[in-house]
């Protein structure tokens, strides 16, 4: 973190969120859809862009580390690898496919007026609150399922310099990207108004991850603040219960930044701490950035007359997302766009769970959506 000034943190993170929301809306950069489409349609068109984003972020982080700009490396809140990250990833995969978007996809869809995404967010908050109830035994399980306490990242585990390992991954990946460029696979032709090529959005998001790491001492995350919002709501109804909750009162972050001397402290509880100052403006920024994009294109819509089956499905998906992000100590944004670029073992386990979860989620989704459609015949 470059500063302990909370106002500056709010403002800077809000701008990062605004940019992310705007670009994600324009490209419909849906991470849930990227994974789902491999299983549902045997199509990896959009997943290619996420791969690009992860590799570019990997290069950015490594260059910044080599330049001495990342004094917190690996970044805070990343624990040792535990099998519960695998289980969390699995449930998260099911959840994001059923909710029709991940924890951030839901936000930019809310900005564009999608009512189902608002319901998914309600589910996410409920799932986060539910996790607090199971935290005591889940955290014990997580400790017992730790694979090694000696390494947070793959380079640490292998005793290699991150540069060597990242070079071994990024050089072939860049050659593959050039091959795709020759086959003209980066360009998507879309007639959607104001469409931004997803490749550009991938690069912007990689830049946002780097700025977040430099600014906050960690990459983008949002879900601890979902837990905080859930705790704030629950606190109105049952203040004593929240005050005595092991999860809501546990301090997950408590360090002094070596460069600025700023105190980074926070929890999943209902407090306006550093985690809130970093994450809440990103959440608000994504919703507003997408809203501005939708208003500019005159595409803001609010439709509530939708199949009840879909309401139930996104609510269940959201619930799983909220639960799973806490069970895996982070969401897909945190693990894929932050942890994976530094080869965090926890994030690799999350990804290994996410893939079968998305497969299962896709088959549930296909079954749930097959008994509809709302079609009508009309004469010309």
């Amino acid at each position: 973190m470059i500063t302990g000034n909370l106002f500056f943190l709010y403002a800077a993170n809000f701008i990062l969120g605004l940019m992310a929301g705007f670009f994600m809306h324009r490209s419909d950069y849906c991470v849930a859809g990227m994974f789902r489409d491999i299983f549902l349609f045997r199509r990896a068109t959009m997943l290619r862009f996420l791969f690009l984003q992860i590799i570019v972020t990997m290069v950015f982080f490594e260059l910044a580390r080599r330049a001495g700009l990342l004094s917190l490396y690996p970044f805070p809140l990343l624990g040792p690898p535990t099998l519960t990250a695998l289980a969390g990833g699995f449930l998260f995969g099911i959840g994001m496919v059923l909710a029709g978007g991940c924890v951030v996809g839901t936000l930019y869809r809310i900005g564009a007026g999608n009512v189902l995404s608002i319901v998914a967010l309600v589910g996410i908050l409920a799932g986060s609150a539910l996790y607090a109830e199971m935290h005591p035994w889940w955290s014990r399980l997580a400790k017992n399922a730790i694979l090694t306490r000696d390494a947070i990242t793959l380079p640490q585990l292998l005793g290699l310099s991150p540069t060597i390992l990242i070079g071994l991954i990024t050089v072939p990946a860049i050659l593959l990207f050039l091959h795709w460029r020759r086959r003209n696979l980066w360009r998507r032709s879309s007639v959607a108004d104001g469409y931004i090529q997803p490749g550009q959005t991938a690069l912007v998001l990689a830049g946002i991850s780097l700025l977040s790491y430099l600014l906050n001492g960690m990459p983008i995350g949002v879900t601890t603040t979902y837990a905080k919002m859930a705790a704030m709501i629950e606190h109105i109804i049952a203040p004593d219960h929240v005050d005595h909750s092991a999860y809501f009162s546990a301090r997950s972050l408590d360090i002094i930044h070596p460069d600025s001397g700023a105190h980074l402290a926070g929890s999943g509880g209902p407090y306006l701490d550093t985690i809130w100052a970093i994450q809440f403006p990103v959440i608000a920024g994504i919703v507003l950035g997408s809203l501005l994009s939708a208003l500019h294109l005159r595409e803001l819509t609010l439709r509530t007359r939708l199949p009840s089956r879909q309401y139930a499905m996104v609510l269940a998906g959201g619930l799983l997302l909220g639960l799973a992000s806490r069970m895996a100590s982070g969401c897909n944004i945190w693990h894929l766009m932050g942890g994976l670029p530094i080869l965090a073992l926890q994030s690799l386990l999350f990804l290994a769970g996410l893939l079968p979860g998305c497969w299962l989620g896709s088959s549930i989704l296909a079954r749930a959506l097959s008994q509809r459609p709302l079609s009508s015949m009309s004469a010309p």
Binding site: V191, R298, T304, Q310, M313, R372, S375
Partner: protein, 90 residues
């Protein structure tokens, strides 16, 4: 049969969860294959899903249909069948 005489199979998918729009479009293209292929009907889907505007026309073209996408107010209309890309006079 001219485009003006075609029956319109209209489906409103606005606001629905992803990827219901594409799944329903594929389902409807299969169910109405004969009418769409002999030109007696065209399929018109209204959607506010920006991704569907890209994926539905490309899927339909792969199935041998021509497509037309038009922006109408806050949403898009995707028409599929034997149609001219520019559209007909109202």
């Amino acid at each position: 049969m001219s485009e003006k005489q075609q029956h319109i199979i209209a489906i409103d998918m606005r606001g629905q969860v992803c990827p219901a729009c594409l799944l329903v479009a594929m389902d409807s293209m299969n169910k109405n294959r004969n009418a769409l292929q002999n030109g007696s009907a065209r399929l018109c889907i209204t959607t506010d899903n920006r991704e569907a505007i890209t994926t539905i026309p490309s899927t339909a073209r792969n199935m041998g249909y021509s497509t037309r996408v038009m922006k109408k107010a806050s949403f898009y209309e995707i028409c599929i069948g034997i149609i001219s890309p520019e559209g007909v006079e109202p």
